[in-house]
Subunit: 218 residues, 2 copies
Amino acid sequence: MSGSGQEPDDASAPGAPPAPARRRGRPARAAAETGPGARERILAAARAEFAERGYDKTSVRGIAKAAGVDAALVHHYFGTKEQVFAAAIELTFAPALTMPDALAGGGADVGERMARFMFGVWENPVSRPALLAIMRSALTNDKAAAVLRGLIERRMLQRVAGELDVPDPEFRAQLAAGHLIGIAMLRYVIKMDPVASADTEEIIAMVAPALQRYLTQP
Amino acid sequence: MSGSGQEPDDASAPGAPPAPARRRGRPARAAAETGPGARERILAAARAEFAERGYDKTSVRGIAKAAGVDAALVHHYFGTKEQVFAAAIELTFAPALTMPDALAGGGADVGERMARFMFGVWENPVSRPALLAIMRSALTNDKAAAVLRGLIERRMLQRVAGELDVPDPEFRAQLAAGHLIGIAMLRYVIKMDPVASADTEEIIAMVAPALQRYLTQP
C-alpha cells in the first residue's frame, strides 16, 4: 500500500529477470493493473457485475472494464468466468460460511440459533442483494448452480453435519437448510405477506422447533 | 369446435353488425387466426416461450409467431405480456391449484398429504420444467414475481388457510409452503445430495411432522 504503483515483490531484486508474464505487452498500464489491490478490485467488480446482470449476461471483459484492468489479468488471477464467479460468491458468502461455528456444540437451542443466523445474513442490507443475485444465477445457469452447490456443501453443510449427533446428519442438515431457503424465497423474493412483513422474531419462534427436530431428534 | 373456422357466436345472428375488431384488416388470415383453438395455441406457445427463454427474453411477438397468429390477436385475447404470463402460469399451475381440495378437512395426516401433493407435482416430468421456468422468471423479474405471488396467494394459500383451525392460518400455511418450496429448490434446482437423490418417501417421512405442526398445532 505504498501508493507508488510499484509492486514490492518486483522491486526487491535489482537486476532480476523480466517482470512476470501478466505485464508483458502493456508496460504503460502495468502499474495500475497489477498494483496493490488489483485482485481485490477485480473481485469487487465481479461481485457487482454478477449481482446486476446475472451469470449469463456477465463477461470477463465486462468485469475487467469495471475494475479498470485488462481481461487477461482477470484470467491470470482467477481463470475462467466460472472460476471468477466461484471466487466472487465465496467472498459474498463469507458471512454465511461462519454458520457451522455458530451452531457448534448443538444444544437445546441449536434450531433457534440456525434460524437467527439465517435472518442475520438476509436482513443485512449489504448481503441481501448479493444473496439474491446468487440465487438468481443458480436458477438460470447450471454452471452457476454447480458452483453454489459445491460451496454450500463443502463449506457449510458438511461441517454442520459433523456437529450433529443424529442418523443421516447431512440429510438432516439439508432439510433444515432447505426450510430456511424456502422461507427466504417467500420473504425476500416472492415477497408474500404475512411472511414478508412479519417480525423476524415471530418467524424464528415458529420455525426454530422444526429445525431443532431435524438437527437433534434421533 | 365445428372445424369450419367460423366462430359460433359470430354466425348466430344473420344481419348482425360487422365481425369483431380482431378480424378487421386481415380477412385472408382470419380463419386460421381466430378459428377454434387459436386461444389454446397462443397459451401453449406462451407457456413454451416463457419456459424456454424466461420472462425478460420472451416477447408477445415471439409468442404470436410460435402460435402462427398475429401479435394483435395475442393482445386481443390476453392484453399485455404480463397478462399473457399470468394466463400461461395459471395453466401450468392448474394441477398445483387443486392442493386446497387435497388438504380439505385437515386431520392427523394433513402434513403428509401436503408433502405428498407437492412431490406429485414436482416429480411429474411434464410439470417440473414448467414450474422451474416460473421460479426462474419470478427470481429475475419483479412483475413476474408479482404475478406468481398473486396466484399462489389467492388461488392456493388463502383457500388452504380457510381449512385450518389454528391462530394466524395464513402465516402457518405460508411457513409450511415455504418449507416445501425450499426442499424443491435443493432437490430440483441446486440438486444437492442426499436430498436430490433421496427417495421421496424418505423425505415425506421427515418433513410431514414439521408441516403437521404448522397446520394443526394451536
